[in-house]
């Protein structure tokens, strides 16, 4: 009995079950296809809408689409790259990209500078107060932005840090500092203890061990953490919308502005083109570091 079913995949199955197995395979591929469609349809539809390729127009005769259950005659499926070209050339988009790069860069820089020593400490030694440090960092990660950002907004307006790059970048630390500390700590913790012991056996001081031994080993991990943290800031909206004004508005805020109170007739096509343009670099980077995404998003509890 046991030998008969050792490896179901390899063993020739009785002829009776083959059609059933085939049907199972077909169903599996069908579900895969539908799941793929579900995952990427919103992204693709948004990208296409941004160039006037409205899929709804293909379903409706006479180019009539339904918007909020009301037939509208302006649905079109005709290639028109203007929204993208506008965004990249005449709009404020390029300036917002520069703003996003600056905010992300400064924020990640500060986070690494003040975070790496703590990551190293948490991974390297058992000292008193470790629990308290973890608690403060976790509380920082879970606290509602409003509890912090509103007082911070008032404070920054008073000292003139509101709508400045250092100010916004500092506020974004609320989002990434814990992530950076935990992720880098994970990379430090992967270093075998014997390496440290060997180094101190050869008479290296703690400072030398950190600079010459530990840091070079985790430098790639730090780079990955920096990229991941940067994308988090790139995509962040709530802190950015409160802490930035006309001078430092980043991409994520820019994509959605022109909506709400300011503009009563929002131009969906421009918003969709902007959302696509903001998504593309983030997607490319996320796919490049996909092995580490679980680590980043789970505060390095998953590997």
């Amino acid at each position: 009995m046991t030998t008969q079913v050792t490896h179901p995949k390899e063993k020739a199955r009785p002829a009776r079950s083959r059609p059933r197995k085939l049907a199972g395979r077909a169903l599996l591929y069908l579900v895969l296809l539908l799941t793929t469609l579900y995952t990427i349809y919103p992204i693709i539809a948004t990208a296409l809408d941004g160039m006037d390729l409205n899929i709804a127009a293909l379903f409706a005769g006479n180019n009539i689409v339904l918007i909020d259950s009301i037939p509208f005659p302006q649905g079109i499926f005709r290639f028109n790259p203007t929204p993208y070209l506008d965004a990249l050339t005449v709009g404020a988009f390029p300036a917002r990209i520069v703003n996003s790069l600056l905010i992300g860069g400064i924020s990640v820089g500060i986070a690494l500078l003040v975070g790496i020593p703590v990551s190293y400490m948490l991974a390297r030694v058992d000292i008193k107060g470790k629990g308290a440090i973890s608690f403060v960092l976790l509380a920082l990660r879970t606290v509602s932005p409003f509890a912090v950002v509103i007082p911070l907004y008032i404070f920054f307006t008073r000292v003139g840090l509101w709508d400045t790059f250092p100010g916004v970048a500092m506020a974004e630390l609320l989002l990434i500092l814990t992530v950076v500390v935990w992720m880098v700590k994970g990379f430090f913790a992967d270093i075998p203890r014997q390496i440290y012991d060997a180094a101190s056996l050869f008479g290296a001081s703690e400072g030398q061990i950190f600079r010459r031994v530990a840091l070079p080993i985790v430098i790639q991990g730090i780079a990955i953490t920096a990229i991941f943290g940067f994308i988090l800031v790139w995509n962040e909206y709530l802190i950015a919308v409160i802490m930035t004004g006309p001078l430092t508005k980043p991409v994520a805020v820019g994509v959605f502005s022109g909506l709400g109170a300011i503009n009563k007739t929002p131009d969906f096509v421009d918003i969709e083109a902007g959302a696509t343009l903001a998504f593309l670099p983030a997607a490319a980077v996320m796919l490049a570091i996909r092995k580490y995404l679980a680590k980043g998003f789970s505060l390095a509890t998953a590997s």
Binding site: V5, T142, A147, A171, L177, E206, A252, E272, F297
Partner: protein, 296 residues
């Protein structure tokens, strides 16, 4: 926990110096704003200490509405994300062609900014296509996109769409770190891949501290949901109305502060923020516990 190894004890004091930079930064961006927020929440309209903001808050129906909205939203989106995330996990653990390509496609939503999720799952991108398809091709009746029964599940569902891939990634990492013998044993007993998944993999994944940690984190993040409800309150024309079914806690506080007619009720919003802060501290305690059991 462990007895200290020789020689390490005497350098302990120096290690604390590494905390100075982060403490300096946190003082500015966290400790000071939090204390200032507590102070604001205790300040009356004409100055002076008062608890009036808290009693005003607790009597505020819109506040309780937003608490209910946030709890519903968070529960729904976390539950849907678990379901879809486990489904994705099943698909990418099967023997199929191009598995890694599918896996790469499935993680794409993680790269979408939350505000863009609100745009991509909004009426003009997805739902007008679906509406037109269902009316013109399937000849089904119209559905109201501005009805709460439609847009609320869509909001929670699109939140879940973004985070289901994370559940998948964490599940895969749990599966990879569990001993291979479990799966071999199930196979030997003739379990089909579906049985293996539902009876072995799902319980293993859901009971792992790592997954529980991530789910708590996800629930808390969903409690702070802001961008998707903001987008939808724009799509369905609720930007200036308060106490709507799209008003999650964050959106409610945002509207209170930034709609001019409410007169910038800073003390009230600070009181709400302090209440949220206390909830956060409870959550952080739970997560510290889970974190402890992950380390072992």
């Amino acid at each position: 926990m462990k007895p200290q190894t020789g020689g390490r004890k005497k350098v302990d004091a120096y290690w604390y110096l590494l905390l100075i930079p982060i403490f300096a930064v946190l003082s500015v961006v966290e400790f000071y704003p939090l204390l200032y927020g507590v102070y604001l929440s205790l300040t009356g309209p004409s100055g002076g200490l008062t608890s009036g903001n808290y009693s005003q808050l607790l009597e505020n129906r819109d506040f309780w509405n937003s608490v209910a909205v946030s709890l519903t939203y968070s529960t729904m989106s976390t539950a849907i994300a678990i379901g879809i995330g486990l489904g994705l996990t099943f698909l990418v653990t099967q023997q199929v062609r191009g598995r890694s390509v599918f896996e790469a496609i499935f993680i794409l939503p993680l790269a979408v900014a939350p505000i863009a999720v609100g745009i991509m799952w909004g009426p003009s991108a997805v739902w007008d296509d679906v509406q037109t398809f269902s009316v013109f091709i399937l000849h089904l009746p119209y559905f109201q996109e501005a009805s709460v029964l439609f847009y609320f599940p869509v909001m929670a569902g699109s939140d879940a769409w973004e985070w289901a891939p994370l559940i998948m990634l964490v599940a895969l990492s749990v599966i990879n770190s569990a001993p291979k013998e479990i799966y071999e044993a199930a196979r030997l007993h003739g379990a089909s891949s579906w049985q293996l998944f539902t009876r072995v993999i799902v319980p293993t994944v859901l009971t792992s501290p790592v997954m529980q940690f991530v789910l708590v984190l996800r629930f808390i993040d969903a409690m702070r949901a802001f961008e998707i409800p903001l987008a939808w309150s724009t799509w369905v024309g609720l930007t200036t109305s308060i106490g709507s079914p799209a008003d999650t806690l964050s959106l409610y506080l945002y509207k209170l502060l930034f709609i001019p007619s409410f007169g910038f009720p800073l003390s009230l919003v600070s009181a709400a923020a302090v209440v949220l802060l206390s909830v956060t501290l409870v959550a952080a305690t739970v997560m510290i516990r889970l974190l402890g059991s992950i380390g072992k």
